[in-house]
C-alpha cells in the first residue's frame, strides 16, 4: 500500500467550502420553492410538499455538511524534490503524480471568498495537464509556489 501524501489543506478551507455549499443550496432552495409554487397551483398534494422539503433539506445537508467534509478529509498533497503528489476526490479517489521535470508553471489565485479567509489556490501546469490545490493559507501557497518553481527549474527538459 502506498503512503498517503502527508500535507492537508487549511482548516479554513473546509469553512470556505461550506460557504460555497450554502450558495449552491440557496439555488436548490429556490428551485424547491418554485416546485412548491407549481404544486400549489396545480395539485396541492401534501406528500409532494413533504417530498420537496425533504429533498431540499437532504441536498442542503449533502452540499453544506457531508460533501465538503469528505472532500476535505480526502484532500492530501505532498511536494517532494522530484515530484508532486496529490490525492483528492469525492466519490472517486484520485491520486496524481506530477514529476518536477514536467512542471511548466505554477500560479496562485485568490477569489473574494478565499481572500476573506486569507487563503489561495495554487495551480500547477504541465504541458498537457493542470492540477489545482484549492485552499492553502496564502503565505503557505506563496512559499509552495516559490519552492515548486525552483525545483522545477533545476530539471530542465525538452517538452
Amino acid at each position: 500500500m502506498r503512503q498517503e501524501p502527508i500535507n492537508r489543506l487549511s482548516e479554513k478551507g473546509l469553512r470556505v467550502w461550506r460557504i460555497y455549499g450554502i450558495f449552491q443550496s440557496l439555488i436548490v432552495f429556490l428551485v424547491g420553492i418554485g416546485a412548491g409554487v407549481i404544486n400549489y397551483f396545480t395539485g396541492q398534494y401534501i406528500w409532494l410538499y413533504i417530498a420537496d422539503g425533504v429533498l431540499v433539506l437532504l441536498i442542503g445537508y449533502l452540499l453544506i455538511y457531508l460533501f465538503p467534509k469528505i472532500r476535505w478529509t480526502r484532500w492530501r498533497y505532498e511536494v517532494r524534490e522530484q515530484e508532486i503528489e496529490l490525492q483528492h476526490g469525492l466519490f472517486i479517489v484520485k491520486r496524481t503524480l506530477v514529476p518536477m521535470v514536467r512542471v511548466q508553471h505554477v500560479d496562485t489565485e485568490q477569489g473574494p471568498i478565499l481572500r476573506k479567509y486569507d487563503l489561495s489556490s495554487i495551480t500547477i501546469s504541465t504541458a498537457a495537464t493542470s492540477h489545482t490545490i484549492p485552499a492553502l493559507v496564502t503565505w503557505e501557497a506563496d512559499e509552495l509556489r516559490g519552492r515548486i518553481s525552483v525545483l522545477a527549474r533545476v530539471a530542465e527538459d525538452d517538452v
Binding site: Q82, E83, I92, R95, L97, T126, A127, A128, E156, D157
Partner: protein
Amino acid sequence: MMYKEKFTLHPISAVINFLKVLKDMIIPFVIVIGVNGFGGGGFEGWTSYIIYIVYVVLLVALLVSGIVEWKRFRYWFEEGELRIEYGLFVKKKRYIPFERIQSLNYTEGILHRPFGLVKVKVETAGGGATKEADAELTAISKEAAEQIKKEMVLAKNKESVTIDETDQTEPTVEQRKPLFCMSQKDLFILASTSGGVGVFFSGLAVFVSQFSELIPYETIYNEIIMFIRFGALLIALIVFFVLLVAWVVSVAITFINYYEFTIRIEDDEIIITRGLLEKKKVTIPLSRIQGIRIVENPLRQLTGHATVILDSAGGSLAEKDEKIRLIPLIKKDKINHILVQIFPDYEFEANFKRVPRRSRKFFYRLDFLWMIPVAASVSYFFFPFGLFSLLLFPLSFLWGAWQHKTAGYWMDERQLVVQYRLFSRVSIWMEKKRIQAMTEHTTYFQKKAGVSSLMTTIKSGVSGSATTIPHIEKVDAESLMEWYEPTRIEPIDIEKEQPL
C-alpha cells in the same frame, strides 16, 4: 549591415488569395442570394440590377485585394531569422528566428503544380494561441523553398556546430529512399473500408428484412407486420443506396488524398508525402513525437490490417489534426518492422498483462444504470416492440466483456504500452519521459474489489491526451505509479535520459 535580397511570392498567389477569400465567402453569398431571390424582390426595372452590381464590385475588390496582398508580401533572411513583411492596409512585419521553427510543411495544390510551385507553411513551437503564430508563403518556387530549408539548417548549425555536423552527414545520404510506400492494393483496401461499417450494416439490414417472413409471429400481428416489413425493406433499401453513394464518394476522396503515400526519414524528421491532385508534404521532427498508436477497427482487425497514428506536441491550433496518420493502412505483421526503423528507442514487442477477471463487471455495470430506466420506459410505452430494448442488456454485456478482454498494459523501464477498446482496438506506446502526469482513480466499488484505473496524460497537439488503463489490480496500479515516480529510480539516470 549588408543589403539583403528580398523575395516575393509567385504571382499565382494573387489568384490563390482571391480564391481563398471567395471560398470563405461562398456560404454567406449563397444565403444572401437565396434570401433576396434572383429577381430582387420588390424592385422594379433597373434597380433590380443594383444587387448584381454590388456583387461584381465586391468580386473586383476581392481580386484587387488579392493582388495587393501578393504585391506587398516580402520575405528575406537576416540575422538567422526568417523575416516577413505583409499587410493589406497596415504593414506588418514578422521575424521568426530559425531555431524556433519546428517544421516546414509543403503543399502543392492544383494551381501550384503546373508552375512547379509549393505552398510553405512555417510552424513554430507551440507558442501562440492564434493562427497568426505561424507564417504561410502562399506560393514560391521549389528552389526558393529549398533555399529556406538551407538557410534554416545553416542558422541552426551556427547555433551548435559540433553536434549537428556529425549528425547531418550520414543519415541524409543513406536514408533518402522511402521507408514505407503504400501499395495500390492497400490504398484500395483503405479507401473501401474507411466508411465500410455503415454500408455493411445497412446491407445486413436489407438482408435480414428479407428473412423476417420466416419468423412465425406473422400470423398474430399480420397486418402490422406486413406494413412494418414493407416499410422496413423500403427504408433499408433507401439507406443502403444513400450509403453506397456516400461510400463511393469517400473511396474516391480517400484515393485522391492518400495517393502515393510515402514515408521518409531525413535529419531526424519524418517526412510524409501524399496526394494525387494536391501533393502534401508534412514534416514532423522526431523529437516532437509523444506517443504512437496502433488502431484496428473490428473490420480491419479481421483482415489483419491496422492504422498507425502519432501524437505530436505543439503545432498550430489552425491545424486541426494534431494526430498524424503515420501509416493509414498496413498489414499488422509488417508494422513492427517499419516502426523499429523510425523509432529505434521504442520496444514494439509488447507482452500485455491483461485485466483481472473480477473487474469485468466494471466494464458494463455502470451502463446498466441508465439503461434500466430507458429500457423500462421504452418497453412500457411502446409495449410489444419496445421489449426489444431489453436486448440492450445482453449487447452491452457482450460489448463490456469484449472491452474487458482487450484491455491490458505492458511496461519496461522506459515505456508504457496500453491496449484498450472503445470500438476499435487501440494500442498506445508512450515513453515514460513523455508522460506528463499519472493519476490513479479508485471508486468505492473498485476499492472493494481491489482494482483501480490508471490515467496517463501525454501532450498531443496544443493540449493533452489522456489514456486510461481500466480496472487493473490495485497492486499493479501502485507499482505503475512507483514506476513513474522519479525518486524511486536513480535520479541521475533520468537526467541523462532527458536531452534528446
